[in-house]
Amino acid sequence: MIVRVKLIATYREHLPPGTNGNSTEVDVPPGHTVGEVLTPFNIPMDDSSVIVLNGLTVPLDTVVVEGDTVAAFSAIAGG
């Protein structure tokens, strides 16, 4: 099933080379979690990252479904 991964600002460099924009689609098996979706992208999986599912704060072991968007960015200061 297809899930979108959006990596914002400096995390864009974790997207596959040649990616247009800040997101890409990945094909994952049913039952995959937010954490598992992000594993191949080498995002720091600690409190130095903010990770959201469809814009919502959820535990990393939340199971994703078709059409979901998992987004991540670095947890540093605002504007």
Binding site: N22, G55, T57, A77, G78, G79
Partner: protein, 607 residues
Amino acid sequence: MYGWHGRILRINLNTGKASSEEIDPKIAKDYIGGRGWAIRYLADEVDPRVDPFSPDNKLIFATGPLTATTAPTGNRYMVVTKSPLTGALAHSNSGGDFPTWMKRTGHDMFIFEGRAEEPVYVWVNEDQVEIRPAAHLWGKDVHETTDILLGETDAKAKVACIGPAGENLVLMAVIMNDKHRAAARSGVGAVMGSKNLKAVVVMGRKNPDLYDDEGMRRYSVELSKQVGVDIKKGSSLRVYGTAYVPQVTNTLGILPTRNFQTGVFEGVDSIDGVALKEKYLISHKPCYRCPISCGRLTAVDEEEYAGKGEGPEYETIASLGSACGVDNLAALTKANYYCNELGLDTISTGLTIAAAMELYEMGVIGIDEIGRPLPFGDADAVIDMVQKIAYRDGFGDELAEGSFRLAERYNHPEVSVTARKQEFPGYDPRGSQGMGLLYATSNKGASHMEGDVAYEEVFGTPVKADPLSTDGKGELVARFQDAFALIDSGGICVFFAVRYVFTKEMMIWPVQLSRLLNLTTGADYSPEEAIQAAERVYNLERMFLIGAGSGPEQDTLSPRMLHEPMPDGPAKGRVVDLEIMLSEYYQVRDWPGGIPSEEKLSSLGLI
């Protein structure tokens, strides 16, 4: 004294006389400096019911004990006065170079009182203070004014001035320093204009003596190294400036769009930090000695929008961009340049234009009133309105009063997105509940700079909080407000301070910041004492608000936030659940019914 010079420069514009006075060491410690000292003096010397444009109102510039030291980002100052926009308190913060140069004059704080008969500027070169005629500068923009004054005084001096907007008493007028930096909110520039004070120029070499010079140097290096480690890992602030934030807030569904009618903007990719970096970035432009360097020098080549300057910052992208439905980055950058040159707050200006756009699309106002069409997304109309506001030209005269008064005039309060009559910054609180409580209770009206809990709700710093939850937000907001009062009184920047000089183990607790204050002043603050001083500042400001008639009845938000559910995005269906958070907040603050209790005031030494 150490850290502080302990000297205040008082400039009476009625008499044209300047005098220097010493501060009571107890007040110095109890109120820290900067914002704290300024509210102590304002509360002692100004009736909170004063007309903000009366000569009896005072305009205070204040540095903190960490300003002009080696403390990383130790280069901020505050402008404090009674606000013409909110009718309550203004305390606006700025960086650049000016704050350090101001402190090097040998004074921590300037108090401007009265009103000059003719336009003047004040030239402070250490102990030499001159009040000079400024008729030749009146009407000139910020860049021209700055260049002329550097020619007339000292090329190495630093200038803070108003543009035409401040002269014309526009309620969202700013005080610009170093051409591109703004003490932006609450109409401080209009108060300066009302005093016929066009500019303040500073020069000096008097760095404050520090209590432990060598210890301070070593600790500053250690803290700067921590910043350096984050930058090496890839700090979004360093790479993109604050312009990376639209993608974050849009993802969370809280990017102000078409006057806060929704929190998701379809044009975000065209106006974010990546686009800005690729198209218009020339270089980083740090405040004096800042290790973060979030400022951006930019230039636009497109003929129609050509210009050069600093910005846009996130707040400007949200207000002049998405809030106006504008996805044209060149045009919104040009509108930002105009705001800086004419001396306007981009947040209130953008949101007031957005409110007018909504009224136009509702058919409440038309071409007859405005003089042109004003639909959402019309970037050229935004640029046109910015200029008209600064000169109070035509319909700009109505917009110059801000969105609250505009909405009242046309009997549609829902189009003004304000708290205490001041426009919201770029976080829709329906999807960031703590920000809603912050805006409602902020002493300066809606602002992110008075306890920005978006740090936790949006950016996960120092720890992540769920932005849609109201649990514990009363305490979170109170703690952040006190932390920011401490930062603003100390004279450093929130971008550095929240992450590096507070410990997250006790929510937000100033362990490292107290150490910085002690190395600088020798005043031996414990973290508890430092936070208590900040709480003293916050409560004294609150008492000023109550005296000004802006008390608990004003602890609310515009109707859209309380009654119109977010139509789409992650926060779909939500309004701000203010009452439940406000009740917890009053309890945490010991403000029964929103009024500080006698016990609280007594424990802080305020009665």
